[in-house]
């Protein structure tokens, strides 16, 4: 069926699959089915070519070089910043800071903004859907500053309890930090409303967009978030590169996170003055090659069309949810009607680890375990789940392979 366009979305899956060399291989004698996209997506040839041509054509250190290669590298590096700004609809490219990924972005904000603004007794609000990377950095700073962490509870369907959130906000709330979409369950959170309420209470809001970036339209100005962060490798880009967006006014007032080259204006042993945004937060030689190649990932998404991609992925999510729900003893975890293409499930009486290993013998890659969201698993009363997460290059036929694989697992183990 998907040899023709995926129904309604206009996505030519087979054409798109040709752009991803890694997909065309056998694993344990079977065609690879890659359903671990929420962990990391595969990379199209445009991204691979960009890396190759950077290293073979114009590798040089950026910003202060006066020779041709340095100029080319600097231009390419800054072009990605411009593209990132437009991808997120940031007001200016000074609001785009390159980081290693969402984890570093949150650590940067927690360390710089958190340390300079939080005082004893202040409160930080997180949600029960958060990845450990949006919990631990706040715990580190909260402990140091003697602040409290409050948690927005999760409902049985895997959604945030907004009523409870309203109750948590008060004059001591300084920071609200939640994800746009849950990596474990796929739930899309009503971040615009969460941000509005945070502002009403006088707090700033950070949105972890790791799972949203490849699926949802992102407009940081419309959301009015103070910080937004994304990881390149979860949106068809290279590993080790991501973006932190911050409102210019807030970033300007924040102290640097790391010291070194690039981020300074003038250094003497008596006093050092900082460079302007965004360089103030980009100490040392950055990950130039991966930043350069990240532009190709943004272009791939924009060129394919985020709406069309989302439609295709939702078709797969609906189809997989329907088919999996028919299986004996299988229960979908996370039943929000508003999800990115993440399908988490458990099968009664069979450990997720065994399911994952059995599927792997048939060439099907899924993730099993707590997905770095232990508090959420505790809330759901589970040790872990099996998670299948879909990307634009996945097909209905692959979903059928997952169903067949699960049927066998159930047949053998139940």
């Amino acid at each position: 069926m998907e040899n023709v366009a995926s129904i309604g979305s206009g996505i030519e899956v087979e054409e798109i699959r040709k752009l991803f060399p890694i997909l065309h291989q056998k694993i344990n004698g079977h065609d690879l089915v890659y359903f671990d996209n929420a962990a990391t997506t595969q990379k199209p040839v445009q991204v691979l070519d960009a890396l190759q041509s950077y290293y073979t054509g114009y590798n040089a250190n950026i910003h202060r070089g006066i020779h041709t290669l340095a100029e080319r590298a600097t231009t390419a590096f800054e072009q990605t910043r411009t593209t990132a700004a437009s991808f997120l609809n940031a007001g200016s490219k000074e609001e785009i800071i390159f980081v290693r990924g969402v984890t570093e972005a949150i650590n940067l904000v927690a360390s710089s903004y958190g340390r300079s603004k939080l005082q004893k007794g202040d409160e930080v609000i997180l949600s029960g859907l958060e990845h450990h990377s949006n919990i631990v950095p706040w715990q580190l700073v909260a402990e140091e500053k003697q602040c409290h962490i409050k948690v927005i509870p999760v409902t049985d369907t895997g959604e945030l309890d907004l009523q409870a959130y309203r109750g948590l906000l008060n004059e001591r709330t300084r920071i609200v930090s939640v994800n746009h979409a849950s990596n474990s369950l796929g739930t899309i959170n009503p971040v615009k409303e969460i941000i509005r309420l945070a502002h009403q209470a006088g707090a700033v809001a950070l949105i972890d967009g790791a799972q949203a970036a490849p699926h949802l339209p992102i407009d940081v100005q419309d959301l009015d978030c103070d910080f937004y962060c994304i990881s390149g490798h979860k949106m068809y880009g290279p590993t080790g590169v991501g973006v932190l967006y911050g409102k210019k006014k807030i970033l300007e007032a924040m102290p640097p996170y790391m010291g070194g080259g690039e981020m300074i204006r003038q250094v003497t042993f008596e006093k050092t003055t900082w460079n302007d945004l965004p360089y103030k937060f980009e100490a040392g030689t950055p990950n130039i090659a991966d930043v350069v190649a990240l532009k190709s990932a943004f272009d791939f998404i924009s060129g394919t069309g985020k709406d069309a991609m989302a439609q295709h992925e939702h078709m797969l999510l609906r189809y997989a949810t329907e088919r999996l729900s028919e299986l004996n003893g299988l229960r979908v975890v996370g039943n929000s009607t508003n999800k990115v293409s993440v399908l988490s499930f458990v099968i009664e009486g069979i450990h997720p680890f065994d399911i994952g290993q059995m599927l792997d013998t048939r060439g099907i890659a899924v993730r099993t375990g707590h997905h770095c969201t232990q508090p959420l698993m505790d809330r759901m009363g589970l040790e872990g789940t099996v998670r299948a997460s879909f990307a634009v290059y996945n097909t209905r036929k692959e979903t059928d392979r997952l169903v067949e694989g699960l049927q066998r697992v159930i047949g053998f183990l139940k």
Partner: protein, 144 residues
């Protein structure tokens, strides 16, 4: 049978499956099911070998100078793996266990379980079995 011979026997058994990954994993789980049940009271935290995704409980005792292991896991595959380790090590002296080199996993196509992935703590199981052997050996030396 020596530690080496038992491993040869395991390799021969799995070779009948001709490298079919699915069949090998199924056979492994079947072996796990045959592992004698561990006493419920032994499944406590102090007997737990930590893996990232699966839990393993392991105890050992000495009878007439030989070490006998007992174990359980909450995942079928890990239980299969530990059943093989028990088959290899149980009934041997502490010194034999300490000298014993585990070679069978890669030879039965299960090497991914002993790599750097933290998921099932296979390496930790072997280490824990050797720790028991070392403890028994030390104890017997003190008593001697």
């Amino acid at each position: 049978m020596s530690i080496t011979d038992t491993q040869e026997e395991i390799v021969n058994e799995f070779s009948l499956l001709e490298g079919d990954q699915e069949m090998s994993v199924l056979y492994l789980m079947e072996l796990g099911q045959k592992l004698p049940a561990m006493k419920e009271e032994d499944k406590k935290e102090q007997n737990e070998v930590k893996g990232c995704q699966s839990r393993v409980w392991l105890t050992a005792e000495v009878k007439h100078g030989a070490v006998f292991f007992s174990a359980d896991s909450n995942t079928a595959i890990t239980k299969g793996l530990i059943s093989l380790l028990i088959r290899v090590f149980s009934g041997h002296t502490p010194q034999e266990i300490l000298n014993g080199e585990i070679t069978f996993p890669s030879r039965i196509g299960m090497d991914r379980f002993i790599g750097t992935q933290r998921s099932n703590g296979f390496a930790a199981m072997i280490k824990q079995m050797k720790m028991y052997a070392l403890a028994f050996q030390t104890r017997s030396k003190i008593q001697a």
